[in-house]
């Protein structure tokens, strides 16, 4: 019973950690917009956490640049299980227009498993929220798999 309680709670309290790996700020603004009164992601229990240790969902924006590559890997190592990686915008998914640039080491799939992709350039806050809702389901499944 206690297990079930934790499982349900995991799906209802996703804390977000936002990481910018060389984004143009377009998607970052949309993530902040998703928390404003107009969209209010807190309805799903979302909270912007300040450190990866508190995070459940890692929102990554930007094509992974050479400078941010090591930081990205180190940050993802610090997140406690279970967690979900969400690629926000076209950049982390495919490097977008920065493809084959000398300073870009992306896309994100090279360094970690991407659970949810949200595309758009920049993506709408609605799409980010839909992605978070999808991520909570994956989070619940991961917690279930962790217990087995």
């Amino acid at each position: 019973m206690f297990n079930k309680l934790i499982e349900n709670s995991t799906a209802k309290s996703p804390w977000l950690y936002h990481m910018n790996t060389g984004s143009c700020n377009g998607c970052d603004i949309e993530i902040v917009a998703a928390l404003t009164p107009h969209f209010d992601a807190e309805r799903f229990g979302c909270k912007l956490a300040g450190t990866p240790r508190h995070a459940d969902i890692i929102l990554i924006t930007g094509p992974v640049t050479e400078q941010s590559k090591d930081r990205l890997i180190r940050t993802l190592e610090q997140v406690p299980e279970p967690y979900v990686v969400m690629a926000v915008g076209s950049c982390p998914n495919s490097c977008n227009v920065f493809k084959d640039s000398y300073s870009v080491a992306g896309p994100l799939e090279k360094y970690c498993h991407v659970d949810v992709s949200v595309s758009g350039c920049a993506c709408k806050p609605e799409a980010i929220m839909l992605g978070v809702v999808k991520a909570t389901e994956i989070l619940k499944e991961k917690r279930r798999a962790m217990k087995k």
Binding site: P37, H38, F39, D40, R43, A87, S90, N93, S94, C95, N96, V97, K99, E109, V114, V116, S117, V118, S119, G120, C121, C123, K124, E126, A127, M129, L130, G131, V133, K134
Partner: protein, 241 residues
């Protein structure tokens, strides 16, 4: 130390007001007019000119061509996770096969976030040609339904009457030496040409060169993809494939 609380009256007033939240996943939201969302692609309109691939800055559009008898199976793949939604492909598509929809809920696995469509494009047949392997057996002439082929075994000559040929391909299938084939068709310019240069301007591959002062018109068959844009753009209707 001075204190002022400019937001106090709003905070207290908001306690009784209704929320300004959209309640998004429960209530679907209409997008603003002119919003560019996911790409929709109509393969029936596409002529495979490849202009969309050329203007796409992130390289989100890929094309695969599979040769099949009598034509090509062409697949266009629009990768939403790579797209910048600039709408250039839509603007440059003369046939309006590409449109930007208002679908913005592009969420899921990266593999699912694509528009893919396949269509079959018949290669227009050119002139029937014969190679050096021909043994002048006459089987082709015998099987031709229109009697367009004449073979003279004695003089080792092989001719085809282009007026009569319907390009059915029966001769090709009957040839024992596989010496017969349709040549790659070419764009041809008729006598009515006024050398306006519209065909050259609209050619996605820049295969056509028009020299107005010298009244010359030429096409580079290597570059030509036979999309037929020049034919549809010709004001004098003198171009043909």
């Amino acid at each position: 130390m001075s204190f002022s609380f400019p937001y106090l009256k709003y905070a207290l007033g908001n306690l009784t007001k209704k929320t300004s939240c959209d309640m998004y996943p429960l209530k679907k939201k209409e997008v603003a007019p002119g919003y560019r969302g996911a790409i929709a692609y109509d393969p029936n309109k596409c002529v495979n000119c490849g202009m969309c691939m050329k203007v796409c800055s992130p390289g989100a559009i890929t094309r695969t061509e599979v040769e099949k008898d009598g034509g090509k199976e062409i697949t266009y793949r629009f990768d939403w996770t790579s797209c910048t939604f600039c709408g250039m492909c839509h603007d440059f598509c003369d046939e309006k096969a590409i449109t930007m929809t208002d679908h913005y809920e592009m969420v899921g696995n990266a593999e699912d976030l694509v528009t893919v469509a396949t269509y079959f494009k018949k290669t227009p047949a050119g002139k029937l040609t014969v190679s050096d392997d021909c043994v002048f057996c006459g089987l082709c002439a015998k099987n031709c339904p229109e009697s367009a082929i004449t073979v003279d075994r004695a003089n080792k000559s092989w001719t085809v009457d282009e007026e009569k040929c319907v390009k059915c391909g029966k001769c090709i299938s009957k040839c024992p030496k596989k010496a017969l084939a349709f040549a790659k068709p070419q764009v041809k310019c008729g006598d009515d040409c006024v050398f306006c240069g519209l065909c050259a301007k609209n050619c996605p591959e820049e295969a056509i060169t028009v020299d107005r002062p010298n009244k010359s018109w030429s096409v580079d068959p290597e570059k030509c993809v036979l999309c037929g844009k020049c034919v549809s753009k010709c004001p004098k209707k003198t171009l043909c494939i």
